[in-house]
């Protein structure tokens, strides 16, 4: 990746910048079970930081420690330079949107949203104004007098979102904020979240299962697994330069070839596959030793598909089309290699299929190849 973006927006590259949320060596154990394991993380002001990971990997637990509902078993958390260890939840400059929404069932929508503002002792007029504004944003103005049990799942989620946003905290913790919304509302709310982040300079920490959401929303993503961070980086870094096979697999789809390093130079690496009698060429050096076990990973959209043998010899595979998935803008080809391995290729539909015919048909023999710079070399 080239560092072309403005350094101002990318505080994590600026060694002098002071992190807004500072997490060092934080571990949380429940009984003998370690939910969060020795985590280090710095989040900067105005970031929209996404925690991504499978179910039960410790995302909520980390968020709850930031909000103050769980005390870390060990480690330090500080927010805006203040050690949060002895600060109770009601004094933290943090608001959280709960995964279970946690709306007050005995209050109507309006009072739920106004609850935090009342605690701050704002004037009635101001509260009315801000609650009205917030409800308009989440399109719930007509529902302000309803009780939570009279709302749909998505409506509840929007109330929870409004309730956490209305206080304009320094840090907003959102636990799966948009999961129950339909596509249109989700995109609109995503946009609104980015808008709020821009306007108010709020720092967001967002938990999500949805990698696409993470890619669109965030300035940076942390991929979690079993209580630890596997990789922290910008969406591009995570997508194009995944650190491990798990990350590569978790974000987007990817084809993985196992092999051994046969040539290892400063400007190129050659890998021979273990089972496919294939040879892969990468035009960059890597810190690997000859003969070590590695994986060559290629994203489906980086692969070219053609009916005739491509000119360059390296990174070339031959196979038979087994399946075609037509998605409109692109088609997904599943190509079976001689070894039986299936390779996925995404082909943009630049022209309309003629007579209903695609670039290649079922059982057609096809050739796959990719640029020497497109593949990722993974060692674990």
């Amino acid at each position: 990746m080239t560092v072309s973006g403005e350094i101002l927006d990318q505080h994590w590259l600026d060694s002098r910048a002071r992190p807004f949320i500072h997490i060092r060596g934080v571990t949380k154990q429940f009984g003998g079970f370690t939910a969060v394991n020795n985590v280090d993380l710095d989040i900067y002001q105005g970031e929209l930081f996404c925690l991504l990971g499978g179910s039960g990997c410790g995302k909520t637990t980390l968020l709850r420690m930031l909000a103050g509902f769980e005390t870390p078993t060990s480690g330090v958390i500080s927010i805006d330079g203040v050690d949060m260890n002895d600060v109770p939840p009601y004094e933290r400059p943090v608001n959280m949107m709960f995964q279970s929404y946690a709306l007050f069932p005995h209050m109507n929508v309006e009072n739920n949203v106004a609850y935090g503002l009342k605690r701050d002792g704002l004037s009635k007029e101001e509260i009315r104004l801000r609650v009205g504004e917030m409800l308009a944003m989440v399109e719930l103005s007509d529902f302000s007098k309803r009780k939570p049990h009279q709302l749909s799942g998505g409506q509840k989620q929007r109330v929870a979102l409004a309730r956490s946003l209305v206080k304009r905290p320094k840090v907003l913790l959102l636990d799966e904020p948009l999961g129950a919304l339909d596509k249109r509302l989700r995109e609109q709310t995503q946009f609104e979240l980015m808008n709020i982040q821009d306007r108010l300079g709020v720092t967001f920490v967002v938990v999500t299962h949805d990698q696409e959401e993470a890619m669109t929303l965030s300035t940076r993503i942390a991929v979690m697994d079993a209580g630890q961070f596997v990789q922290v980086g910008t969406p591009t870094e995570i997508y194009e330069y995944p650190a491990t096979r798990r990350v590569a697999d978790f974000i987007g789809s990817i084809n993985m070839f196992e092999g051994r390093v046969t040539e290892n130079d400063a400007d190129h690496v050659v890998v021979d596959s273990t089972d496919n009698a294939l040879r892969f060429f990468m035009d960059h050096g890597a810190s690997v030793s000859d003969g070590s076990r590695v994986w060559v990973a290629v994203r489906p959209e980086k692969i070219r598909l053609s009916r005739t043998p491509p000119p360059n010899e390296a990174n070339q595979i031959e196979g038979v089309v087994q399946d075609i998935g037509y998605l409109g803008n692109v088609s997904i080809y599943r190509v079976r290699l001689e070894s039986g391995m299936i390779v996925e290729v995404t082909v943009p539909n630049q022209t309309r299929p003629r007579d209903g015919k695609h670039a290649a048909g079922w059982e057609d023999r096809v050739f796959l190849d990719w640029e020497a710079s497109s593949a990722i070399l993974l060692t674990r």
Partner: protein, 325 residues
């Protein structure tokens, strides 16, 4: 295409089974519907037999006249000499209640004692119920057992035990003298204090159990949400915990207040002659004065006194939840 007459269609084995099955399940459904109505009727029948019927008998006696006979009251229906059926209603018993200060004061006294006891039961029971809910599962079961444990001993026996504890030569006075806090026994038994102790001791489980049942359902993340939005623990209690446990508070309070108002044994044994409650008056009318009609009127008046406010409360609640949003 060949169209066969419906009658010509011979049902295959599978179809026959399906028909049979449909028939059986229809039968079961009918049975179930009937069973449902049976299940619903049983409690009504029970109420009719053991609550409404006795109540009407009492109501009938309350409008009769006192006689020295057996039974000691006049009949509601009477054959006059010329063979006509006449109804004799006498509301004198009720006006008697109203005119005599004794009854009004005793009613008010009972309500006051029951009210204060209910409040104290609530103040005592609420934190106990909360602590039980918040304790780990094994401890929770033990604590619940402890709440129910007194019911395993006869109520009368437990009141006698309190007499022993509170007496002039009782354990409490002995302890206080031994500790040098007092020189001579203080009057504990046969006082309002003793009655309060007795009522609160007896009825606090009836406060704890409905509160516990209510709090058990309380979602603890709501407390976290309140704290997250800037509410200190006291504010969270007032704005979230209290309103959400309100149904439990009402249920527990009614369970304590209603029987406490009509309580007889506790004021009789622990209050002696010093604490007049309506239950004692009722007892005296029946057994000492043998005035069944007045006793019945006292009972009916008590019921009206207790039930009417409750009905009003219920109506208000219904209205609130009907138009609250």
């Amino acid at each position: 295409m060949i169209i066969m007459k419906p009658t010509a269609v011979k049902s295959t084995g599978i179809q026959r089974y399906q028909q049979m099955f449909a028939g059986v399940s229809r039968l079961l459904q009918q049975l179930q519907a009937q069973w449902k109505s049976v299940v619903v009727t049983v409690p009504y029948f029970w109420m009719l037999l053991f609550f409404l019927a006795p109540f009407f008998i009492i109501l009938k006696i309350s409008v009769a006249e006192s006689l020295i006979a057996s039974p000691p009251f006049s009949d509601l229906l009477e054959w006059t000499r010329d063979g006509a059926l006449s109804i004799r209603l006498s509301f004198e018993n009720y006006s008697y209640l109203w005119k005599d200060d004794l009854y009004i004061n005793t009613y008010l006294g009972s309500v006051k004692i029951a009210g204060i006891s209910t409040l104290l039961c609530l103040l005592l029971g609420y934190p106990i119920a909360y602590a039980i809910v918040r304790s780990p599962p094994t401890t929770k079961n033990i604590l619940l057992m402890l709440v129910i444990l007194p019911f395993w001993t006869s109520f009368l026996l437990r009141v006698y035990a309190w007499m022993g504890l509170l007496a002039d030569q009782g354990l409490i006075n002995d302890l206080l003298i031994w500790a040098g806090i007092i020189d001579s026994p203080i009057r504990l038994l046969y006082s309002h204090f003793a009655v309060y102790v007795g009522i609160i001791y007896t009825y606090v489980p009836f406060m704890i159990l409905p509160l516990y049942a209510n709090m058990e359902k309380l979602d603890m993340t709501l407390h976290e949400a309140a704290a997250d939005l800037g509410a200190r623990p006291a504010v969270t209690f007032l704005t979230v915990t209290l309103p959400m446990t309100w149904p439990g508070i009402v249920a527990g309070s009614l369970l304590v207040f209603i029987p406490a108002t009509g309580e007889f044994i506790i004021p009789d044994l622990l209050g002696g002659g010093n604490v007049q409650m309506i239950g004692r008056v009722l007892y005296n009318e029946f057994h000492s004065n043998h005035d069944w009609p007045v006793a019945s009127a006292v009972a009916v008046a008590l019921l009206v006194l207790l039930v009417l406010p409750m009905m009003v409360y219920q109506k208000v609640q219904e209205k609130e939840s009907g138009s609250g949003w």
